[in-house]
Symmetry: C2
Subunit: 452 residues, 2 copies
């Protein structure tokens, strides 16, 4: 199979054209190169020195900034001459301007909106900034095409020619003339196929699926996943059409949310960057390590309670790490599938009990197999059948505990509105560590007469 | 913020219409309800008894099957009367038919293609089945719109009317008349905006980004993420246009790949289903537990080597679980960010060394903080300054080992073409367990005169 390197643009060549100082070469870039590739050339070859971008014309530079991540947008803007910023900014997509402004300090936000933005851009950005960043309102754009049901196809096509800034023209949204309520949708294809004098009301689909501005962005992403649309209209609480969410922004949301889940499950901050600073990494990880330290102390205090038992049968200290570790692994398996399923909304009242049953039986079967192996291994450390027996039984009990904890803890956390991705693993491994030590050392204490 | 439940379709109502036995109600569903919602109603309310779907007309039933997951597609097909299957099948999207056939036993594959498919569907599905499932060829559809550069806009628009099966008409692809090589692309919008007698060659964009059939689906997804297109053309090794990948399929790939990474990092099979059988769950998890058991034995054998030391200072057995566990947590943090970054192609030669440096310094700083805390905690188990000192030093050393292992192990695995998501955690925790025990018990053995 072919990999990325086979399809990557020639960044060295793009960077050469950009830095050649020849207007012809710049024009060639503008005509033939995707802004995302020019951005990447500067990031990979130009060592992220965004001053290289300043030779580009304003509208193309605006496109490049549109493509950049939110924090990089700000870095690019900083190298632009103050007299030029306004011109570039007003050529960007309004949703990208809003994302950029969200990155600024509070003091700067107002200043940028008031002094740099103009006309409809200013109005639209001001509207967008009112919405929570992680909702449909926060990821939508106001640059959509709205028409009336009483229009003819001809009139709609002519209107289309004037709306050059629309993010997408695949769908035209039909709104009420007075209330601006969303009434239906017409695909550009259906519009093109219809005779010029057809009324929009005759070809529009009035079963239009829309989302409200305050819908969580993950729920928006799930709607796109389910229906496969390229854009969805966004309405306010009165059903008035206020924007569209386009699929390219949804892809970013899906990638972002997956990264967040993976990071949280691994115990790091959802937004930690691979090439971030040491300070950010310490800040992201140290608090989590301290929380884990507290639970490690809990587990070790269980061991300390049984010091007397261990000092009589030292082989227990070698076996107990197997019992706790294997329980932790099995618990992690259960919580992994449960946490991911919660993320994708796959667990409901109807199937919850069945899944719990499956987890318990799976834990029992895996426990019997691993328990049998552990009891054999234990005999290598202390050749006493009783030692093998209690090791195996402790292992089976801990595997069952792991299955229960791995299922129930994420479900309970979700119920009490704590993100299961972030907190499940610490609770589950606390349970499997503490119970693992307790089962083994407790059984050993009871069976001591047979062990010595 | 609003959540899914606020936007979910009324599945009870859909199910009522579907099972009412009234033709009017079925027509209402066909006219007004998205096939994905009818499917979900049967899955949620109808307990996945797909016979409820049989009242739907063939073309709508085909749309419902298009929406189902690959294994559910097969389940639906099984309840359809043999005499009807052909008619339904030929109304499905060709890429979905190919996905369905991939689910069948080898013997059945040929039979379905030969006896049930007809005409162009048969030809196209046969072509699609030749490609590896996880490549551009495997996720593309052949239902795209191809035009010639010498056509006029008028002719292209007329051609559009005949191509009712195309998956998307947002882009029209310009191919060479003789070689069928991809020459350019025209968006439907540009087509609509141009006068009827304009030549396609005058309005087409000849800098079209395409992918080859054998490009890995993850690389395809990254191109969509980068460029934000709704579809990309697919060409064969001679540059001939053979299909398009649409963004809805790419969203499925992105979700699927994220689930696979999360599952692998948690030690379960990439395709284990939350509502699967006990048999599948055991098969997915037990092999991984056995691998982990082998490494747990390794770690416990390190402890066993120091039995003499532990029997003299029993408090070591309580502290050693903290040292190994905290090392495991820190190692998991490092490997999590590295594995996700590898998945997103964010680590390159240019930034590799800098990231390693960041990991080591972060490990050192976190090690100093956690090490200091551990040395204080140790004093509660054995009030001897030497005991606190060696506990703290062992902790710092293990945190450094965790940082190195958490970075280097995924990178090395990637280099030798082993999926870092699946194997990193077992190697990293083996390192932190074994070294954690070794550092603490080794230092204790050396310092024994001061500890007793």
């Amino acid at each position: 199979m072919r990999e990325d390197s086979d399809v990557a643009a020639d960044y060295n060549e793009i960077f050469r054209l950009l830095t050649s100082g020849k207007p012809d070469n710049i024009q060639k870039l503008v005509d033939e190169t995707h802004p995302a590739d020019v951005l990447q050339a500067v990031q990979d070859i130009g060592d992220e020195d965004y001053r290289y971008l300043l030779v580009l014309p304003d509208d193309y530079l605006a496109d490049v900034i549109d493509e950049a991540e939110d924090d990089d947008k700000y870095e690019i803007l900083k190298v632009i001459d103050p007299g030029r910023i306004g011109s570039v900014l007003n050529r960007m997509s309004v949703d990208e301007i809003a994302d950029l402004i969200r990155e600024l300090e509070d003091d700067n936000k107002d200043a940028v909106v008031k002094s740099l933005l103009r006309g409809r851009t200013k109005t639209d950005v001001t509207k967008l900034l009112k919405y929570d960043e992680e909702t449909a309102g926060g990821i939508m754009t106001t640059q959509f095409i709205a028409i009336y049901a009483s229009n003819t196809v001809m009139r709609a096509l002519n209107y289309l020619k004037t709306e050059v800034n629309a993010e997408t023209s695949w769908y035209l949204y039909v709104v009420d003339k007075v209330t601006y309520k969303l009434m239906g949708v017409v695909s550009l294809r259906d519009l093109v196929m219809a005779p010029f004098d057809t009324l929009i009301s005759d070809i529009m689909n009035d079963n239009v699926i829309s989302v409200r501005t305050d819908l969580d962005q993950e729920a928006v992403a799930r709607l796109f996943t389910k229906y496969g649309y390229a854009a969805l209209p966004v309405v306010d609480e009165n059903g008035r059409m206020v924007g569209i969410v386009t699929v390219d922004d949804v892809i970013d949301v899906i990638n972002e949310e997956a990264t967040e889940d993976i990071h949280r499950m691994g115990g790091i901050d959802k937004e930690e960057k691979i090439d971030g600073s040491v300070k950010d990494a310490v800040r992201s990880r140290l608090p989590w390590l301290v929380v884990n330290l507290a639970t490690a102390i809990l587990a070790s205090s269980v061991i300390a309670k049984f010091n007397g038992t261990i000092s009589q049968i030292v082989a227990l200290s070698a076996v107990m790490t197997i019992i706790s570790g294997m329980g932790g692994n099995a618990g992690t398996q259960s919580l992994t599938i449960v946490v991911r399923a919660l993320s994708l909304n796959e667990i409901e009242k109807e199937n919850g009990l069945r899944i719990l049953g499956k987890e318990i039986v799976t834990g029992l079967i895996n426990g019997l197999v691993i328990g049998a192996l552990v009891s054999i291994i234990a005999l290598f450390y202390d050749f006493n059948p009783w030692f093998g027996l209690i090791s195996g039984v402790a292992m089976i009990l801990n595997m069952l505990a792991a299955a229960l904890a791995g299922y129930l803890i994420p479900i309970i956390l979700e119920k009490v509105h704590v993100d299961p991705a972030i907190a499940s693993s610490v609770f589950v491994t606390t349970v499997t560590d503490c119970l693992g030590f307790f089962f083994l050392l407790g059984l050993a204490t009871i069976a001591m007469p047979h062990l010595r």
